[in-house]
């Protein structure tokens, strides 16, 4: 026996010293050397972590595998969009808001545009075609946003093939967006007064093609995941939040509906003519991650129904308000490098009409004036209530714009869902809220 009794026994052999580590009371030995033996540890997850959907930092106090306290740190993606908008014209505002929640740009633009239109008092002048195109684009965007959710959540919970399929279909929608707006995301397409330009016929064909194959694809996702034992084990009964919790914490959208309350602003406080479309509001009673998955799948199906109806009622007509003091003066044309002024329009203002040039110059550099006042316009985004609180002082620039971002508000629910659960369930719960940090931090 050597002098360090209690540790592994050692003996000399021809090949050197050999230790034997069997036996002994290891608990008392470990507690003697490890000062952290009985203490909690704090795990810093993020801000750079593959499952935090951008730059979200979670500070988790752990006891073994159990989370005892979860605190969130946000703000890493704050870019001062709201402040910036106060120094740009009302039309330029579209370009800013579209960059907030980058997975749902059309929704940001629509909420903002509806608010500006309400301030201008021109809601009734928005053409039917413009409204229908807005609905069409929003529902396409809702599907693409839900697909990213399905793809990334699948990836985080071990269903890697779901990620590939989700992004494959999303790519198709982004192609449609590119045909219509010239850009895949951040398109600044919906503008105060209408939309930037008309939907080309080629895009309609492509949307029809999408409507044709998408129901089958959604069925495929369902076949892939719903009965999958790992998927169900990681989602069923995980990160439960009931209606009380949701309403108290301000959580809206699919998360609220998956706890049983059919609160969808498209039905309860309609805008853009949603009351004239035939669709259902899917709900689930369980309030867990699996229910949120089912609700989002069902919502994609409902969005397909709305897109089909919108396509059917798409009649030829103007897509901008009649009022030349508000409508963008330039005729936009789609080039190989995106949207730009049409050459015809440039030739007209530069060579033929001085008045047109003055009009163009005034409207583009100075912008239009919006009567003073404040409005709050909420719409149903893919993540919940997206509200635009817009204030004008009568000038050509917003006095203040505040976006009520569902990502920001919903993230507050993570401690309520995660505390007392396992570390792995924090990932599932956080993902099920579908936070987009660009929207959260603005």
């Amino acid at each position: 026996m050597s002098s360090n009794a209690g540790y592994a026994q050692e003996r000399e052999t021809t090949e050197g010293k050999v230790f034997t580590v069997t036996g002994g009371d290891w608990d008392s030995i470990v507690s003697g050397v490890d000062p952290m033996h009985d203490e909690r540890i704090v795990v810093n997850m993020g801000p750079q972590h593959p499952s935090t959907h951008g730059v979200l930092r979670l500070v988790l106090e752990m006891e073994g595998e159990t989370v005892t306290e979860a605190r969130l740190v946000v703000g890493y993606l704050h870019t001062g969009i709201e402040k910036n908008m106060e120094y740009r014209t009302w039309t330029q505002g579209s370009t800013f808001v579209t960059r907030m929640d980058y997975l749902a740009p059309i929704f940001n633009e629509t909420a903002y545009s509806l608010a500006v239109e309400k301030l201008l008092g021109i809601e009734d002048q928005i053409t039917e075609r413009a409204n229908t195109i807005r609905v069409l684009m929003m529902e396409l965007n809702r599907i693409s946003s839900h697909l990213v959710w399905l793809a990334t959540t699948g990836m985080e919970l071990g269903a890697l093939s779901m990620m590939i399929y989700g992004f494959r279909e999303r790519e198709f929608i982004l192609d449609i967006f590119e045909m219509i707006t010239g850009l895949r995301m951040n398109m600044a397409y919906v503008r105060p007064g209408g939309v930037a330009q008309d939907v080309p016929d080629t895009a309609i064909v492509k949307i029809r093609e999408f409507l044709d194959f998408m129901p089958k694809r959604i069925k495929e996702y369902e076949d892939l995941l719903s009965g999958q034992p790992i998927w169900t084990a990681r989602t069923k009964g995980v990160a439960v939040l009931d209606v009380t919790g949701c309403v108290a914490l301000g959580v809206t959208g699919p998360v609220l509906r998956s706890s049983g309350l059919a609160w969808d602003l498209r039905k309860t406080m309609p805008y853009c003519g949603y009351e004239t479309y035939d669709f259902d509001v899917p709900t689930q009673p369980e309030g867990d991650v699996f229910a949120r998955y089912l609700v989002r799948l069902a919502e994609m199906r409902e969005s397909l129904k709305i897109i089909e109806q919108a396509l059917d009622r798409l009649k030829p007509g103007p897509v901008m308000v009649e009022d030349r003091k508000i409508a963008w003066p330039a005729q936009l044309a789609l080039g190989t490098d995106g949207l730009g002024n049409s050459l015809e329009h440039v030739a007209h203002i530069m060579g033929q009409s001085m008045e047109s040039l003055i009009h163009h110059f005034k409207l583009v550099t100075e912008g239009f004036r919006v009567p003073a006042g404040q409005v709050y316009v909420p719409i149903e985004g893919p993540r919940g209530e997206l509200g635009a609180h817009v204030i004008s002082d009568g000038g050509t620039r917003p006095f203040r714009v505040h976006m009520r971002e569902p990502s920001f508000v919903n993230l507050q629910a993570i401690p309520a869902m995660a505390e007392g659960g396992l570390l792995a369930d924090v990932i599932a719960g956080g993902a099920s809220l579908d936070p987009v940090m660009g929207g959260c931090d603005r």
Partner: protein, 211 residues
């Protein structure tokens, strides 16, 4: 009107964007006269009935573009929210949004704005509280609406409005050691000096010949 002295010793509008003329006045909002019409009367009557301190707490009632705004005495905001949430004929269950506005030309320039939603009656209401920049205090509504937690933190961060009774009123979007409140109208647009690798980079407005 005298121009208030801005943060970081900025004078004038603080605008370095070169666009100029950013001093703005807020147009006068007219008080709504009874009857207000529609469901507005129902809401205001129900609040008056349920809340004994109505006359002392409500400064003004404004209806603009179909939206009802109640201007509340700042000290009373939590009480009013409690009644609005709990009274059976009001039932504003959801606090949609809390944010701030800086009406720089006014005496009580900082406004906290609350948007409440009644899911039962499908109505919305806006509450507005005005405080001065020298004493920007009002009670927190987190005990009534837990969702106000982060939104009040953001309002504090951006406007410096202090919500008394908030469990953890710290900055949320800006870094913890940030000076000033960026959404205030007198916040210097050109930026603040930034220290990088030991050297201090001055803000653009003192680098360029803007003024």
């Amino acid at each position: 009107m005298t121009q208030p002295e801005g943060l970081f010793g900025v004078t004038g509008t603080g605008d370095t964007s070169g666009m100029g003329g950013l001093v703005r006045k807020r147009p006068v909002q007219l008080d709504a006269q009874r009857p207000l019409g529609g469901w507005y009367d129902e809401v205001v009557d129900a609040l008056e009935e349920a809340y004994p301190g109505f006359a002392d707490a409500i400064e003004r009632v404004v209806i603009d573009r179909g939206e009802l705004t109640l201007h509340i005495v700042p000290a009373k905001i939590a009480e009013v929210c409690q009644i609005l949430r709990d009274d059976l004929s009001l039932r504003y269950e959801l606090c949609s949004s809390v944010s701030g506005v800086d009406y720089i030309a006014e005496e009580r320039r900082l406004h906290a704005v609350y948007h409440l939603t009644s899911m039962t009656y499908r109505r919305r209401i806006r509450l507005e509280c005005a405080v001065t920049a020298a004493d920007p205090h009002l009670p927190s509504v987190t005990s009534v609406y837990p969702t106000a937690d982060w939104q009040e933190r953001e309002t504090y961060d951006m406007f410096g409005i202090v919500f008394d009774g908030h469990p953890n009123l710290t900055r949320i979007l800006m870094p913890d050691d940030w000076d000033g409140h960026p959404q205030r109208k007198d916040y210097p647009l050109g930026g603040v000096p930034v220290e990088y690798k030991g050297a201090e980079i001055p803000p653009p407005d003192s680098r360029r010949a803007y003024r």
